[in-house]
């Protein structure tokens, strides 16, 4: 079985000690795991359960509920394109089209080199900047295909 790195394990333990009760840290821990691995691997679920002292199926159950956690194939970066009401009104289709042209992927797909995964999401709360998208923790307004290409180049 694969093992978590010392550094990641230390972070999970810090999260577990942060709240009044250990089990409250489950989402913080899962964010940490996903940021590290680019998805939620099974062995990490086991580690999170151990650190938080909760049953394994509880962690699995929580992972499957929250949209941001991905049990699928890993990707180094995830692009979340907003396809909610406002972004659609302001033409989020052109964001998807530009990504398709630049990276060759449609919604739900990952580039062959595992660099980017493209996901359609509901409102990301930057509606004055519509159409907008996120790459990992960063939020951007879509301006043009050229500008998007430049932004993408920052994520290797």
């Amino acid at each position: 079985m694969a093992m978590l790195s010392e550094e990641l394990l230390k972070k999970l333990k810090e999260h577990a000690e942060y709240f009044p009760r250990k089990e409250q840290a489950i989402l913080l821990c899962l964010h940490e795991v996903q940021d590290h691995y680019g998805h939620i691997p099974t062995f990490a679920i086991e580690e999170v359960a151990k650190v938080l002292e909760v049953p394994l199926n509880h962690v699995e159950n929580v992972v499957s509920f929250y949209d941001m956690f991905d049990r699928g194939e890993p990707a180094r970066h995830r692009i979340r394109v907003c396809v909610s009401v406002v972004c659609n009104l302001m033409n989020s289709q052109k964001v998807l089209k530009a990504i398709k042209e630049l990276l060759g992927i449609s919604l739900g797909e990952t580039t062959k080199d595992g660099r980017f995964k493209l996901i359609g999401v509901q409102c990301i709360g930057a509606c004055s900047e519509a159409p907008c998208f996120m790459i990992d923790n960063d939020t951007y307004k879509f301006e043009s295909k050229e500008k998007l290409n430049e932004v993408l180049s920052r994520y290797t």
């Binding site: 942060y18 929580v62 941001m68 009401v85 509901q122």
Partner: protein
């Protein structure tokens, strides 16, 4: 200062200079800047008052919750303190309604206003532990709040014996992970306990049975940011801001087809027409306004632009969200996006909502593409009106509402789809 994740520069403007006094500028304001502006003076004042007196002030200020439901804040606090300690305070920062992005600029630009509001509120309701639940899509806000809380601790505004008052408080920040339903207060509490965000059946309400079964007050970010203002100026003066029946500043996030989208701080009775034309610069290309959606909740036609923001049955209540559609947009198409939103965000706990929201979206898509028959149309109308009375929480209760309103207000838009229905075989 550490660098935070990238956030786009959301435009902000204020006529009142209260909530957005600092946040109109797109930068994180440090505790030093906040203190220079008279920050944390309301906290000092509050700690010299009796907690019950603060609750009385908030009640008399007529502040109503800014998270959408508009419940009187003072009354909520009074209910909570009737129940025995320990009690908890939770700040709902899970803003996720389409078109709503007002709380994020308060969090990201002026975190100490929120923190001061939380300390005063926790003192008033007698809570020694408070939580901020911020949506997963606002990672910058999460890190900004964690840092601001550390700053406040170092100055003695948080921790043990705050400013020598004997009052202790710790504030913890929790992150969501992409579930709209966690903005519903009981689902939020479940999530904060480390579980799936399934809404609870109410009653009991959170003020009776909340976090870990204890009395809990859940207030929205903007609501809590009003507290230092009320305590600072006194409830009498606060009542003079805006109309006398709905006093206080209000944030209006405006988006869609307007020239200057952004967040505007205006008095409560501001009308849709004023928000769109006086402040947001009118529509793109000066097109005619066709409809306004207040989030995914209510729909207003071009004849209703004089509707004011308030919590009466005649106002556009909710979060103050304004999404503008012009003559170039199709209302039924926009309804499909709204239906898809509810289908995606239904938590799946209760059957009417889990199945109903998906059925509603599937049938509407068929209708929109002229592939529906009469049975589909009947089914669509049935589902649309049956999710509401049979669901556990507010999400199911409103999932069909905007669509139904558009049928009443834009019958001609729906008519052409009705005409193209295929006859049953």
């Amino acid at each position: 200062m550490r660098s935070y994740p990238v956030i786009p520069e959301i435009y902000a403007e204020t006529t009142l200079n209260l909530l957005l006094k600092r946040a109109k500028k797109p930068k994180v304001h440090s505790i030093e800047e906040y203190l220079r502006d008279g920050g944390y003076q309301a906290l000092e004042k509050a700690l010299n008052m009796d907690p019950m007196e603060i609750i009385e002030w908030v009640d008399k200020s007529q502040l109503r919750g800014r998270g959408g439901a508009g419940f009187p804040t003072g009354r909520k606090w009074k209910f909570a303190v009737q129940n025995p300690a320990p009690r908890y305070l939770i700040c709902n920062a899970d803003e996720s309604e389409p078109g709503t992005f007002k709380d994020r600029i308060l969090i990201e630009r002026d975190p100490h206003l929120l923190i001061e509001g939380m300390i005063i509120s926790a003192y008033a309701i007698g809570a020694n532990q408070a939580f901020i639940y911020i949506r997963g899509e606002y990672p910058a806000g999460y890190y900004i709040l964690r840092d601001a809380i550390e700053e406040a601790k170092k100055k003695g505004f948080l921790g043990k014996n705050i400013l020598g008052s004997g009052f202790d408080l710790d504030i913890y920040v929790a992150r969501g992970a992409g579930a709209y339903i966690c903005g519903e207060e009981s689902a939020l509490i479940e999530s904060l306990e480390g579980k799936r965000g399934f809404p609870r059946i109410k009653p009991p309400f959170p003020v009776q049975y909340g976090l870990f079964g204890r009395p809990t007050v859940v207030n929205n970010v903007e609501t809590l940011c009003n507290i230092p203002i009320i305590v600072g100026m006194g409830w009498e003066e606060y009542r003079y801001i805006g109309p006398s029946d709905y006093p206080g500043p209000k944030l209006f996030p405006i988006s869609g087809k307007v020239k200057k989208p952004g967040v505007y701080e205006l008095p409560m009775n501001t009308t849709l027409r004023e928000v769109i034309f006086k402040y947001a610069g009118g529509t793109i290309g000066n097109k005619k306004v066709k409809a306004v959606f207040s989030g995914a909740l209510d729909c207003f036609s071009a004849d209703e632009l004089d509707t004011p923001m308030d919590y009466s049955p005649f106002g556009f209540g909710g979060t103050g969200t304004v999404i503008v559609l012009t003559e170039e947009d199709y209302v039924v198409q926009a309804c499909l996006w709204v239906a898809e939103f509810y289908a995606h965000e239904s938590c799946g706990q209760c059957t009417p909502c889990r199945v109903g929201t998906h059925e509603q979206a599937i049938l509407l898509e068929r209708i929109l593409h002229h592939q529906a028959n009469e049975k589909d149309w009947e089914g669509f109308n049935f589902v649309n009106s049956h999710i509401q009375p049979t669901s556990i929480c507010g999400l199911g209760a409103v999932a069909g509402r905007l669509i139904k309103q558009t049928m009443q207000k834009f019958p001609e838009e729906w008519e052409k789809y009705k005409k193209s229905l295929q006859v049953n075989v």
